[in-house]
């Protein structure tokens, strides 16, 4: 969904986010809804500025989100209104996979002590890159739909077992023939065109039970899975009083249905856990049960933490995907040839059936004319990943001396997760480039870090050569932001950067040019890709060109796409992309934003007339295809009529025989509601007129996730990697497949370790920004939040003899820091499974440089993370607190 749509909500549930403090601008929309009478709910361990705005505040212990959400799911499934209101059943039965049957050999966590079938020891990964961090892995075969293998390709964690060709590279045992060869006996036709290849991948349609009674159908499995999440269990695990929990559950349900919609908003307080994607999946499951997807004021708002971080994952800076969320080429899977890649990564039914068109157009954007059908469009030149190269494993590898150099642009890892270990890694680098506005901690760690001040490390012993490049600020360059609603907005250059400060694109462009020059005469096969690389973004303005600044419009054009033999002609929509090399487009999802040389749609700034319902389609450009609400076919009923007048968004116009409405329909424009799926068809032809979820292989919202997640098909409450209590819900304590880098310098506290009895969470404040490089140097901001503090309840403060503003020492098995005490009743002790557990919290913005200085809170955190996306668990771990 998108933030403005929250103004249309009848209830907004903010959980896993402190939206008012960290997304104050987007928060205007829930506030609009509230002023219009909507109920605002906040579920959080702390009473924050978001809670202050909420009509209903539910306190929970950090890390107990799935127990709370699971309780709501159980409440909804057993509720009389939910079982009698036809809307819920119609929506669920037709738009979700509730009726789909699962395989006989699937074992749910319910029957298996809290783990799913297929759990085994982690044996994947390459010996060259032993940093993937898994403590276990699942063979996900048994999670599939019965009688088919629909959707078992594609978008899974790049380093996980799922999708890997086990043994193909590393010689490890346990090869899985199912994944080595495509599931067909016919020879696979070569391409281009690749339609034959895609057709060869089509599998039988899933088997369904329209009565939802079969014990192996998804709905029955879900129902049984969540049966133990009773209100009593919710209180035991989360510490939230049952009455408050029930009030939340009732409010959500009362504000869902044909006439009303509820939205969720979350941010990194759901992601930064060892099971973060599962928490989000749990909310998705609930929203699917409530029919709150693809409709105005419904859905789940993923709040991004930075301006344009959405853009950075789209474009992407992620290691495991190339543009437009296509999986990165990897040495862990059978990606030897372009055909291998397409066979493994193309989901033949649904919109991803077009994967070959997206991939080939992308390869053309990499190598231009040098990419031909004869050389597989340069596929062999493309680098492949070896394993998990995300932040955490990279720094572990660095600490092992495996990384030679690092370019640091817009990041400050010296104060980042398990900062001590990260700085130890940086001390092993040969060279380090820091490009930023300020000499922040990562530029001065070699002379000013705590371990240097304490004399444990001498600057003379650090071999790292540090280069600092002053950076231009955002207003000193032109370009686009892609915000949390996938909306690109163009901004113009407002001022010249001072001195020799340069933009990030200047740096990247010039670096690429110099590297191309360096490899120009190389005969080594591995350099052929660099020699062929298309790298021409020359600015049309003589002044900018003279400075070496690349043209933002030229970059936009390459992202959008153009016709290979007529580069002046832009591709108007991703429906026009071809798999034969005739189109060149880096990012299929961005295609359409720049459909003609004189149409820079991200620069559009025309709001809708006030008072009219609309989607503000002429303000910026939201990918894909300028759609504001994804899967918006679900806002209409089976016949294509709006579920209600109040909640209409897009609908079928029988007279015009097309979908119309306020938004760009996210559906085949002329696919009638009664259109039938084509048996054996590929792409959208494989879906019917009532399959709104066109990016899914079966066109349906997934209550149960047969593929794509490595840690389970259903959300399950696990305790955090560090927890003061035994898991009250299952025998399994924490995620059996979480990522943990077991090293002497990365210890974890044992369950219930009395030396570290308190639960701690870390967070941001409105007044500061992330690691502080953009706020701790700004006196206007530092005077507002001048010092590091720890928030704790008067109850805990009383036990420990701590008064407001006392200096406090906070310790974990990794490190200890000092902070001033902010004693407040906004925090409270929880009773968890009969035991009093104190919750404390600390903002993590500080470091030793800048106007406002303070200890590095991230010294307390551990390198432990989620197995799907490798984000660390910064939102809940354990600590001790005492007077310093």
């Amino acid at each position: 969904m998108y933030p403005r749509s929250m103004a249309d909500s009848d209830c907004v549930m903010v959980m896993g986010s402190n939206m008012a403090e960290n997304h104050p601008v987007a928060f205007r929309w829930p506030m609009k809804a509230k002023v219009n009478g909507a109920t605002l709910i906040h579920v959080d361990p702390r009473f924050t500025r978001t809670s202050a705005m909420a009509d209903l505040y539910a306190p929970i212990r950090a890390g107990s989100d799935i127990a709370f959400l699971g309780g709501i799911i159980n409440f909804v499934i057993n509720n009389e209104r939910w079982n009698s209101e036809p809307f819920f059943r119609t929506w669920l039965l037709n738009y979700s996979n509730a009726a789909t049957l699962l395989r006989e050999d699937f074992r749910d966590a319910e029957d298996n002590d809290g783990v799913f079938s297929g759990l085994m020891q982690y044996t994947s990964g390459l010996p060259e890159w032993p940093y993937n961090g898994f403590v276990g892995e699942y063979d996900t075969t048994s999670w599939q739909y019965a009688g088919t293998g629909i959707g078992d390709q594609g978008r899974v964690a790049a380093t996980a077992q799922s999708g890997e060709v086990r043994g193909a590279k590393s010689g490890a045992v346990g090869a899985d023939p199912k994944r080595e060869t495509p599931p067909t006996t016919k020879p696979v036709p070569a391409g281009p065109p690749y339609d034959g290849l895609v057709e060869s991948l089509v599998k039988p349609a899933p088997v369904r039970d329209e009565t939802l009674q079969n014990p192996r159908c998804v709905f029955q499995v879900v129902k049984r899975h969540f049966a133990r999440y009773t209100p009593e269990m919710v209180e035991r695990v989360t510490g939230c009083p049952q009455a408050t929990f029930l009030k939340v559950a009732q409010t959500l349900l009362a504000n869902s249905g044909p006439e009303r919609t509820t939205s969720f908003a979350y941010a990194v307080a759901w992601t930064q856990h060892t099971n973060g994607p599962q928490i989000i999946g749990c909310a998705a499951l609930l929203q699917i049960l409530l029919g709150n997807v693809g409709r105005p004021g419904a859905g789940i708002m993923a709040l991004r933490g930075h301006a344009s971080i959405q853009g950075s994952t789209d474009v992407p800076t992620l290691y495991h995907s190339i543009h437009g969320y296509l999986p990165a080429m990897t040495a862990l899977k059978k990606h030897d040839t372009v055909q291998d890649y397409l066979l493994l990564e193309t989901v033949p039914t649904g919109y991803y059936g077009n994967t070959p068109k997206f991939l080939i157009s992308y390869l053309k954007s990499m190598w231009g004319a040098a990419a031909t059908p004869e050389n597989s469009f340069g596929y062999d030149w493309h680098p492949k990943i070896l394993g998990d190269h995300s932040h955490l494993p990279m720094f572990v590898a660095m600490a092992d001396g495996k990384v030679k150099g690092m370019l640091l642009i817009g990041q400050n890892p010296a104060t980042s997760l398990h900062a001590k270990l990260e700085r130890a890694g940086m001390r092993k680098l040969e060279w380090l480039v820091v490009k930023d506005n300020w000499l922040h901690e990562s530029a001065t760690f070699w002379k000013n870090a705590p371990e240097v001040k304490r004399g444990e490390v001498k600057p003379a012993d650090i071999p790292t050569e540090v280069f600092f490049l002053p950076s231009a600020q955002v207003a000193e360059t032109e370009g686009t932001f892609t915000n949390t609603q996938r909306m690109l907005q163009f901004h113009f250059k407002a001022a010249e950067a001072p001195g020799d400060c340069r933009t990030d694109v200047w740096f990247t462009y010039q670096l690429g040019k110099r590297l191309k020059q360096k490899y120009a005469d190389s005969a080594a096969p591995r350099d052929a890709g660099f020699k062929a690389l298309l790298w021409d973004f020359e600015h049309s303005d003589p002044h900018e060109r003279g400075r070496g600044e690349p043209s933002a419009l030229a970059i936009l054009k390459e992202l959008n796409g153009y016709y290979s033999d007529d580069p002046g002609r832009h591709v108007a929509t991703f429906g026009d992309l071809k798999d034969d090399g005739s189109t060149t487009a880096a990012s299929w999802i961005y295609t359409g934003m720049y459909p003609a040389p004189d149409q820079n749609r991200p620069a559009n700034r025309t709001p809708d007339p006030p008072g009219q319902p609309g989607a503000q389609l002429n303000w910026g450009f939201a990918w894909p295809a300028n759609r504001r609400l994804l899967y918006n076919r679900a806002s209409a009923d089976l016949q294509g009529r709006p579920w209600s007048e109040r909640k209409k968004w897009v609908w079928w116009d029988a007279a015009q025989t097309k979908w119309v409405g306020y938004d760009v329909p996210d559906f085949g424009t002329t696919t009638a509601p009664n259109a039938r799926a084509k048996p054996g068809g590929i792409g959208l032809a494989a879906l019917s007129g009532t399959d709104p979820f066109i990016m899914k292989a079966d066109g349906r919202a997934w209550l149960f996730v047969p593929t794509g997640l490595v840690d389970g098909p259903l959300p399950t409450h696990y305790e955090a990697a560090e927890s003061p209590v035994q898991n009250p819900v299952y025998k399994q304590q924490s995620s059996p497949v979480l990522k943990y880098w077991k090293r002497d310098d990365n210890p974890l506290a044992a369950v219930g370790d009395r030396r570290y009895p308190h639960v701690i969470t870390t967070y941001r404040l409105t007044e500061h920004y992330l690691a502080g490089a953009m706020s701790r140097w700004n006196p206007w901001l530092t005077e507002l939040q001048p010092e590091l503090f720890i928030e704790l309840s008067p109850e805990l403060a009383g036990e420990k003899g701590i008064r407001n503003l006392d200096w406090v020492r906070i310790s974990t098995p990794r490190s200890q820091v000092r902070a001033k005490a902010l004693v407040t009743r906004r925090l409270r002790p929880f009773t968890i499974d009969g035991k009093v557990v104190h919750q404390v919290g600390m903002p993590w913005h500080w470091g030793w440089e800048g106007v406002s200085v303070g200890d590095v809170v991230n010294e307390l955190t551990a390198l432990v993370g989620d197995p799907n996306v490798t984000i660390h668990e910064g939102k809940t771990f354990v600590c001790n607190v005492e007077r310093a």
Binding site: R49, T766, E767, E783, L784, K820, V851
Partner: protein, 259 residues
């Protein structure tokens, strides 16, 4: 004269983000106190503490939590100069530095102010103080320079939730009344307006919607003009004069009767 303009601050939708404080400082080029080096106040999230010559906007944080936390509230309010229709500061200013503008707002002209501090004591809200950079008394100008070119003040422009509303007083009062009615209909019976009518100092051109007693927000329940003391003190003066006269007469008579 243009129509009277002002602020209506709806504290029930203030999220305490302090964007108003920063936007005010940025537009008016007010430096941070002490170069931004400050210490934690320990008073909730309020670290600038009050309005003064460098802080023309100030967000207050009032934590109201009983021991068992039931019904706990965190009241947030962005405070500012009230631009009183009967302004104490303007009344006492000896140099004429404080003027009433064509927008019915109250502005201190820095180039006329001699820093005598009379206005500081005269303001019942504690809004004014000396700006250490200029050495003159300063406070919110309701962005007089922006108003003159048809722009809204920096703080209300920056406010993400429209807690700070800018407009004509007539319009703002209408909106405020409607909002109070809405809140009361939703069960918030404590909702009331502070300074929206003429009873308080002839009306505050910057008025507030509160959900607790004014004192809870640090606002005087019944602010008075400095001239309130004029009548009693003038009577005292007259009385004093009479007494001195009488004493004189008595002493003269005594002297006259000496041998």
């Amino acid at each position: 004269m243009a129509e009277p303009m002002g602020f209506f601050t709806d504290t029930t939708v203030c999220i305490g983000c302090k964007a108003c404080e920063v936007a005010c400082k940025e537009w008016n080029q007010l430096p941070a106190a002490n170069g931004g080096v400050n210490t934690l106040s320990g008073d909730s999230y309020d670290n600038t503490r009050r309005l003064d010559g460098l802080h023309w906007r100030h967000v207050k944080f009032v934590e109201q939590f009983p021991t068992d936390r039931t019904g706990g509230r965190w009241l947030l309010m962005s405070d500012v100069c009230k631009h009183c229709v009967q302004a104490g500061c303007l009344e006492v200013c000896p140099t004429g530095a404080i003027i009433r503008t064509e927008f019915d707002t109250v502005v201190i002209q820095s180039d006329v102010c001699n820093g005598c501090r009379d206005c500081i004591g005269a303001c019942p809200f504690g809004v004014i103080d000396i700006n250490p950079v200029s050495g003159t008394a300063q406070k919110c100008t309701l962005c007089y320079d922006r108003l003159q070119v048809g722009l809204e003040p920096a703080c209300s422009k920056a406010c993400p939730t429209d807690s700070i509303n800018f407009g004509t007083i007539t319009d703002l009062r209408k909106r405020a009344e409607a909002r109070v009615g809405q809140l009361r209909a939703q069960g918030e019976n404590r909702a009331h307006l502070y300074g929206a009518d003429d009873k308080m100092l002839g009306g505050l051109n910057s008025f507030f919607l509160l959900v607790d007693r004014p004192e809870v927000y640090g606002l005087p329940p019944d602010p008075k003009m400095p001239s309130r003391n004029l009548k009693p003190s003038s009577w005292m003066t007259v009385l004093g004069g009479v007494l001195v006269g009488l004493a004189g007469l008595v002493s003269f008579r005594t002297r006259g009767s000496r041998p």
